[in-house]
Symmetry: C2
Subunit: 157 residues, 2 copies
DNA sequence: CTTGAGAATGCAAGCGGTTTGCAATCTTCC
DNA sequence: GGAAGATTGCAAACCGCTTGCATTCTCAAG
């Protein structure tokens, strides 16, 4: 809010996207706006389904930053609620941009052969989850749910 | 069916359990009945919640076989439907004996602090899952779902 | 514009769970 | 008892991920 325009920077900086919201969010969390950070978010913005760290890394292309940097940034961005982490059980975490409202998550139907992903509607498990927590005395309840199958394209032998 | 009694073995072999079903199953799959194999199944029989490879290994106690052997056996036993694999998202696979009928699975409510596990009733997702498969043209559909929270014992600071 | 404190990055090493190649051993069938 | 083939132990390797440390970068204050 207090800073008029962040675009006085080096020529190779990515300046295409309207950074307003992002920037605000980043600054709220005392995070610095760095090239890798912006590039990662750009990559996620361009893809609709969750990406692995490796996929993000190759999508970065020219701005080829260290894997450790991506790992660290994904933690940071997740902690700030900017991205959401998913686990499809294949050993590699996947990340997706959080929706605008920040709340609400959804689940996925993942092809076990080609990894094609169908994003499902909003989660319908919240009531059940709350009941469950109450019944067993658990707090801070959450869940993970993913569906797996062979997508139409992969069914032909 | 054709083999009367498999109990003519070495003294340190575990022979307490009625091995009939197991043995039959093992033989159907052309598997050999080995000491590690039996011991692993014994360990699983004695525990109600899913165990990690490391937990299985330490539970084996005296019969201290190689970790690689356990890993290989878990794959084999899973492929044969004798055990079921669960993934609680902490990086270590967990295994449970399959129920008698071989079909039907359940889900878990896992404490994120002490790993205490509540086993939930039979899965209620099968209808939904089938609908989903039909709607999107997927086959061989399956799913994973686990709940996480702080158990009553772990809530006090 | 300069500057400096602290944040972020790159690099390399390390870690935990898991897999694999290979030679030695064990199970089962004849 | 013996042979074929499955299974095991061992060691090395793999994979995703994390971490320590020195260097570089960001940003706000002067």
């Amino acid at each position: 809010m207090s800073r008029p325009c962040p675009q006085h920077q080096h020529p190779h900086r990515l300046i295409q996207q309207p950074l307003s919201d992002l920037t605000d969010k980043l600054r709220q969390g005392e995070l610095k706006i760095t090239a890798p950070r912006q590039a990662i978010l750009d990559v996620l913005r361009k893809h609709s389904s969750p990406l692995t760290i490796k996929e993000i890394h190759t999508s970065l292309g020219k701005l080829d930053c260290d894997l450790a940097t991506i790992y660290r940034n994904m933690h940071t961005l997740e902690r700030m609620g900017l991205v959401r982490r998913y686990d499809f059980g294949d050993g590699a975490a996947r990340f997706e941009l959080s929706p605008e409202d920040g709340e609400g998550h959804h689940h996925h139907l993942v092809c076990t052969r080609c990894a094609r992903i169908v994003e499902l509607d909003d989660c319908f498990l919240n009531d059940f989850q709350d009941q469950l927590a109450r019944r067993h005395g658990y707090t801070q309840i959450s869940h993970r749910m993913e569906f797996f199958g062979l997508c139409p394209n992969c069914q032909a032998p």
